[in-house]
Point group: C4
Chain length 312, copies 4
């Protein structure tokens, strides 16, 4: 039990909801939240299958030809899935020590969003369109990435992205600035008669151009506009090199290393719980596997001891 | 002979079909499957020329103007190529010890697909459309990459891709998730009146947008839709950096190294036969050039000895 | 005071306008140009908010539906912002020792462009279109990048781009050459009847194709033209690898290093003041943290001593 | 003179035409082919200006509105430029020891193509369209890259591309194979009624899709076609990572190193003359600056001595 908690603390975010209470609820907890036991893995597989099937039903229901013919069946299936997800949500709530914390967490909200739209559509048929929020159920599959054999790959990508996030922010801010200035310029050059009906529309066009998407719904028609567009395309093409370079050098740097190569803030940003600070000298940076403080040599508290459940 | 087998074992996948039987069939084998002899190289060149020519005929036959004028000649040429490929297939079957294994292998099926559609079209003219399967003949040219002077480049690329395949799988799963969620969102925002006729169509549109293809057949027209689209384009643009970073860092890591830098599973994934495990202690990971087990020091079996032909 | 100047000299371009005169004007200087004090930070935040709001007003005013309804309100807001920016410009001028240098600097001109168009539109209503120059106000936000916590990221990106600028120039020159030659070729192949109305238009089309934007407003229609286009697309696709490779290897090289890894010309190009030359032997290349000349061992002047304010 | 030759041998391809004969023709040679003297640099600048101007005239002449008004002036200018380039070509021929070698070299043919079309158009007005070959004059500017301050950057890019050329060939062959197979598949799925009129057209479409150009002139319309297209776009998007990775790792590897880090074949491919082999032991690989053979210590022949002019 303690070992499972240690593993969990080191590889995933420690659950905010404080883990399971003892007794039969602990057994439900192991099934619903952990994938260490056969029952837990089966539970995960059933939930994933239900998610995928329910999303397929949402897809099929949106196709006019299929809706015309199978609308009743789709409705029955939808209520079946909603019942299943409601039961799952109830199970998760019931087995936790602090269900309210779970309900407010990211996955708690996603789990709730999986069932609420169907009930709402029953009460207020007018907001039928909200029902497509059900596609967000797919986000629940992400939960599984953290539990599978792909955790190392998931972590490496997350680490590289987290480590580059500040550079990418600076880069994106510059791109937005360029796009706004050049979009406004093209609004002046081409004007509403050529499809650049307002500055926001021109900025939308500038983004389609600089990202090389190029729908072709709005097109420069004056010689000057085409010249500016040519420069923008070359600029956008060259600029693409920058985020690639940032992410590549981060991936190259962090490959083969675990999360301990990250500083505290970055580890927090990708959902890795920071190790507890040394109780003797307060030193905060330790390798997760460290048993002694590297600064003063004192015995380090084990994560489960450092954050005792009841005190939360 | 033993040397040729050793070379073959180390640089390519050992043929599943157990190599040639002795006698005249061994000579045919050397010509049809190996490129070590002048006759073998000539055989390869003739087959490649026939493949390219037959594909050109398929191309030309699909152009209405050429079909109207030369349909008869194209038909004659097609039967000529089919006869040639049938003879080649018979030769390959006849010279093998275990022809059935070859027939079930990847190249065996491709070789069969090169001739079957023409015969089928004779029996059932209705399935005329299947005849374009003949273009798959081109896949047979890939066989040659493994035999030529480009084998080192082929291997380096294959190694880099194979080593990144798990990270790319995680990345693609995330992209599919994002595309599905954003495509559904745009279906809600824009709706069928603006061309987003169903959720699958919206997802198709989301993929054309995030990969920066941007056909322009479906286009957002509401201000909110254009705003979401702008975010999607910037996101897709930035995301492109991730697979590039993954592959780049793998290529940089593996350049100049041979396949022995890979673990067992990766080597299998790119068609490199894993070295046989140590007969003394069972240790499976050895460098291909290793003569002694690194774990127990026992003499390692040579590949040709470890996998004797008759026992297959 | 001296410390602040040293910091400023090393991390940003030393202000060309020679810093503040003593007295109350120095206090205004600290608020208007520095972000070290709470008042300075508040000043920055107010100015940024005003910039963003005024740009939003320009955007909204360009949308016909909003303009029809709120034109008066937008005009009042515009005059309010113009008054605010005029006051800010006056403050900046008044607190400087050499206001003329500031007025001629990049940010001085941008600051002026933020207010002049509105006054001009009052005098000459005909040049109403010039009013969109106001969007350039956004460029003033760049000033903030140099002052914030993102300065390290900003510098690393700027260093990588500055270090690759010569290679990128060679690359762009080659791309322009290819685009011109291939665009002219397509003009000959397709001709005015297929939309390639002149060589400049064909070059514009070649750029949209090779950068993979692909609007689809001009499209090859002859078989030969489509074949050449296919080659161009593959070429453009492969070529994109080159700037990415350049920037990536520079980012990888310079990450973790400060500007001292750059040569003098590159540091100048990204706005880092070069260290003063040795007063004993004239050697110009020194690390910023150097205390002694590496060539003759003489004590190096500290930046603030080497460029005393009054002598400017 | 000998020094100039040595420099030339090391940084550029040794001229195939054997250098200048002695006397006044040597002086013309230095002006026309070298950029070491002020006269040579001026000659280069005049020629480049004439090239750019003449190309601008070709551009302007292709614009219908300008042609209608200035056709006569453009014709006069064209004959002026042709006379200038003819004189330049005559000068280059006259000052060489082996003019025929020059005439057959790459730049010799480009120089000839700069003047021939105009004369041809005089004789056979029907082939007027050939006159656009004059744009190829731009290629002559490439000659200058080898002489300027950008030679180091030009060489580094050329080295990285030359070193990756075999990997890129393997990659492009794979891409062509994929594009042909998927293009044929889409021809079967969508068929002529949806714009996929023949297999070559489908392949053209597949290339526009996988390179993410996406004109939108041909578009999948069946659900199956759109599904296959989605897979193709994701595949093309991911594939783009491969050439980037190849070029990036080569640039990273070769940065800061001179051409001596390349093997003999690669150096030949980018126009670097291989050093002559040692006359004592035959060892072929030497640094260009080497004076003694690294294998046997014998004095190395200097390039000019090893390839004496008269023996050519």
């Amino acid at each position: 039990m303690a070992d499972a908690q240690t593993f969990e603390t080191e590889t995933r975010a420690r659950p905010l909801w404080g883990g399971p209470p003892p007794g039969w609820r602990a057994r439900i907890y192991l099934i619903a939240f952990e994938a260490e036991t056969p029952a837990g893995r089966l539970f995960d597989k059933v939930v994933i299958a239900a998610i995928l099937l329910s999303v397929c039903v949402v897809f099929a229901d949106s196709i006019p030809r299929l809706h015309a013919r199978w609308a009743r069946q789709f409705l029955f299936a939808e209520w079946g899935f909603t019942a299943l997800f409601t039961a799952e949500y109830a199970l998760r709530i019931v087995c936790l020590r602090q269900p309210w914390r779970y309900a407010k967490s990211f996955y708690g909200i996603i789990d709730l969003l999986a069932v609420v739209p169907t009930y709402l559509a029953l009460l207020f048929p007018a907001i039928h369109v909200l029902i497509d929020v059900r596609v967000l159920r797919l986000l629940r599959i992400f939960r599984v990435f953290k539990l599978t054999a792909y955790i190392a790959e998931y972590q490496q990508l997350a680490i590289a992205l987290a480590a580059s996030r500040r550079k990418i922010a600076v880069f994106l801010a510059s791109v937005v600035l360029i796009v706004v200035v050049l979009g406004s310029l093209m609004y002046v050059i081409e004007g509403p008669t050529h499809g650049f009906t307002s500055i926001p529309v021109s900025i939308y066009w500038a983004i389609t151009t600089m990202t090389t998407v190029g729908y072709g719904d709005i097109i420069p028609q004056t010689p000057v506009g085409r010249f500016v567009t040519s420069l923008m395309m070359l600029l956008g093409w060259g600029t693409l090199a920058v985020p690639t370079g940032i992410v590549t050098s981060e991936i190259a740097l962090h490959r083969g290393r675990g999360p301990e190569s990250l500083d505290r803030a970055t580890r927090g940003a990708i959902g890795l719980s920071p190790a507890p600070p040394c109780t003797a000298c307060g030193e905060a940076e330790h390798l997760p596997r460290a048993r002694h403080c590297h600064a003063c040599g004192a015995h380090l508290p084990r994560p489960a001891e450092a954050e005792p459940e009841p005190s939360r």
